[in-house]
């Protein structure tokens, strides 16, 4: 009978909202606060509140009553929306921040990977950074000495190992940083959204290394928005929602339920109107529909978009993306790329987004439409990740009577041709 590698019991973390806002206050503000304190205290006492405790509406539970266990050698994924408490949970388990309630027990050496390149210093060379970052991540000097060759070989930057990393390309930098982290040999590995950076090849390498770690019998806790990665790598998963556990169980089931909820929420279109009051610009509504296409079995996607503005807004970019239900980004078309930049007039501005024969380029499946408004210098005026849900119908792309599905065959319909050229008999 083995005790679990990670044991979490009723864990909770409470933040004071005002502290989140003005954590960096100045001494003069603090003095003003002090002068006003008797007044506030009198008011609090009159209302029957304890003036020395922040009021209840000023407190927020980022994590509440979370209990679970991770067995030795188990790989557990954590899914949930932004702000669901995933990062807070990892920060508590890595001892970066302190819980407010409950406790957690971790058995064995803990390695954490909350970002790639923790502790890297741009002025130092690759070699120096391997040592520094290794030490920060918890490796002993002798251990780094022993594995140095391996780390450098894995990173593939041998030639530049004595060059300051500020001269590295971002790809080289990431590879070296990840190589150090990948050679940590903890019993328990806590990983946050590391895969969000880097190109596809890099992400593949990261995933591969995580897979190896689990084969070597390490316990892994893995936060990701990449649902496929969670399904492939994890045996169990945890779904956090509003700081609480919404579901725990087999990774496959949890991911499916989570995605189901995401899609359902998208279908309700509760996202609208999404107005940025600061800029006085936003999306009033967004309606997606399919129209029969010109050719047989094809459909056209048509989205009616209404942008509302309180004043004249020049050069507003409309950025469009499609994500599969598996969390794979099928397309992301920015306004810089497409040139779809418009001047907005005060009031309602109507747009129509059209894409003909969409089921000839994208495979059958559910997709989430993402819409973002930008303007020069402002990346995100409004960013609606789940603006609409569309179900692209199937299309007999290869003429085999089988319909490619996004879930199994990938979102892109590639006009692949395989031709037999010659035959040489042996």
């Amino acid at each position: 009978m083995d005790s679990p590698a990670i044991e979490v019991v009723n864990l909770g973390k409470q933040y004071v909202i005002s502290a989140l806002h003005d954590g960096r206050q100045s001494i003069s503000n603090a003095l003003i606060d002090m002068v006003w304190f008797p007044v506030r205290m009198g008011r609090d006492l009159a209302h029957g509140r304890n003036p020395f405790r922040p009021s209840e509406d000023d407190l927020i539970w980022a994590l509440r009553d979370v209990s679970f266990e991770v067995a030795r050698g188990e790989v557990m994924g954590i899914v949930g929306h932004n702000g669901a408490g995933k990062s807070t949970l990892l920060k508590i388990l890595t001892r970066i921040t302190n819980p407010t309630a409950g406790y957690a027990r971790i058995r064995g050496r803990v390695g954490s990977l909350l970002e790639v390149g923790t502790g890297f210093h741009p002025e130092l060379t690759g070699r120096e950074n391997v040592y520094l970052s290794g030490a920060i991540l918890g490796m002993r000097r002798t251990e780094i000495d022993r594995r140095f060759g391996e780390i450098v070989a894995f990173s593939g930057v041998e030639r530049f190992i004595d060059t300051p990393v500020k001269r590295y390309s971002s790809g080289m930098y990431l590879r070296l940083a990840f190589a150090v982290a990948a050679h940590l040999e903890p019993d328990v590995l806590l990983v946050d959204e590391v895969l969000a950076v880097g190109d596809a090849e890099f992400q593949q390498k990261c995933l591969g290394k995580l897979g190896t770690a689990s084969q070597e019998g390490r316990t892994v806790l893995f936060v990701s928005h990449n649902m496929n990665a969670i399904k492939v790598l994890c045996t169990t998963a945890l779904w956090l929602d509003g700081g609480r556990i919404r579901m725990a169980g087999a990774a496959e089931d949890v991911v499916d339920s989570y995605l189901g909820a995401v899609l359902q929420k998208a279908a309700q279109q509760s996202a609208f109107p999404a107005i940025n009051t600061q800029y006085g610009l936003g999306i009033e509504s967004c309606q997606a529909q399919f129209l029969p296409g010109l050719e047989d079995d094809t459909v056209d996607l048509k989205i009616d978009l209404v942008v509302t503005a309180t004043q004249e807004w020049p050069r507003v970019g409309i950025n469009f993306s499609l994500t599969t239900e598996g969390g794979i980004k099928a397309v992301s078309i920015g306004s810089k790329l497409s040139g779809y930049i418009f001047d907005m007039q005060p009031g309602l501005n109507h747009f129509s987004l059209e894409c003909s024969a969409i089921n000839r380029v994208l495979a059958e499946g559910s997709y989430v439409v993402g819409l973002r408004l930008s303007s020069p210098g402002i990346e995100r005026i409004v960013d609606v990740g789940e603006a609409a849900l569309i179900d692209i119908p199937g299309y007999d792309f290869f003429g085999t009577g089988r319909y490619p599905q996004a879930r199994h065959h990938g979102p892109a319909l590639l006009p692949l041709v395989i031709r037999q050229k010659e035959h040489v008999s042996s």
Partner: protein, 287 residues
């Protein structure tokens, strides 16, 4: 099953179990953990030095130039113009022998004060005993100290001043005293700095003020007797006087007042470390 666990000791019972739970109030200073992380401490010191001296030639020159230039300015203003009495010691070496420990102290203090902020990124991403950060930033000053001490030796040879060789060992406890005081004040300031960013504007003012209540530009005997007790509460008075007494072989040996320095230093250091420990768990949330 739990009984089986009790009767058969777990093979891994020796492995470390980390318990994470809410902490309230005062937390003891975990010296054992600091010791376990000593390698990281040396890596931090090494990183700071490496980065500081990266543009090599100029980097080291600056370390030597800074106290020397300060000494030159002081010699002109206080030695030549104000004609401050120095018991017949040439003013440049009178000032410089005090500047060496003083700049070590003041530099360590201001680096420690800003250390938590400049390590904010690390603090939010990885765990290690937070005390390492200010400790490393103070300890890194030793190299600067040795370099400027080298200049001091050259000056002593030039002015034909010879140290009290039988007492030269006292420089080590004096340096330690300056180190601990620098760390103690640095700890307090580094915590304040996390919560109030204007501390960084206060630090230069504080060190400036402290310089004038320390006998760096003038001899300690100029201070009136009625002020002596208050004056001696400043541990740097003992440190600077001790340095002059050993190196220039002038003045009085550190007497009972050095114990006041020791007590004040320990009080500042221990309260600073305790306060630091008390609030360190919230750094990542606030910084």
């Amino acid at each position: 099953m739990s009984q089986a666990n009790l009767s058969l000791p777990d093979k891994r019972s020796s492995e470390n179990v980390i318990l994470i739970e809410p902490t309230r109030g005062w937390i003891p200073i975990n010296l054992w953990e600091l010791w376990q992380y000593r390698e990281l401490l040396t890596f931090f010191i090494w990183r700071d030095l490496k980065v500081r001296y990266k543009q090599t030639a100029l980097g080291v020159v600056w370390v030597i130039l800074q106290p020397v230039m300060t000494m030159v300015v002081m010699s002109v203003v206080f030695g030549k113009m104000a004609k401050i009495p120095t018991d017949g010691i040439p003013y440049p070496i009178f000032a410089y022998s005090a500047l060496v420990p003083w700049l070590y102290f003041a530099g360590g203090l201001s680096r420690a004060a800003g250390s938590m902020i400049s390590s904010a990124h690390l603090i939010q991403k990885v765990y290690f005993p937070r005390l390492i950060v200010p400790i490393a930033s103070v300890a890194g000053g030793v190299i600067d100290f040795l370099l400027s001490f080298g200049v001091l030796i050259v000056m002593m040879l030039y002015y034909e001043m010879y140290p009290n060789l039988s007492m030269i060992w006292t420089l080590i406890p004096l340096l330690l005293l300056a180190t601990l005081l620098s760390l103690g004040v640095g700890l307090w300031l580094s915590v304040f700095n996390v919560y109030y960013r204007d501390v960084r504007y206060i630090v230069p003012f504080l060190t400036q003020f402290w310089l004038y209540v320390t006998p760096v530009v003038y001899p300690a005997r100029l201070v009136g007797d009625s002020w002596k007790f208050l004056y001696n509460l400043n541990p740097m008075v003992g440190v600077v006087n001790g340095f002059r007494w050993v190196l220039l072989d002038r003045g009085d040996p550190p007497g009972a007042s050095i114990w006041i320095s020791v007590v004040v230093t320990l009080v500042v250091l221990i309260t600073g470390a305790m306060y630091f420990r008390r609030v360190e768990k919230t750094f990542a949330d606030v910084i």
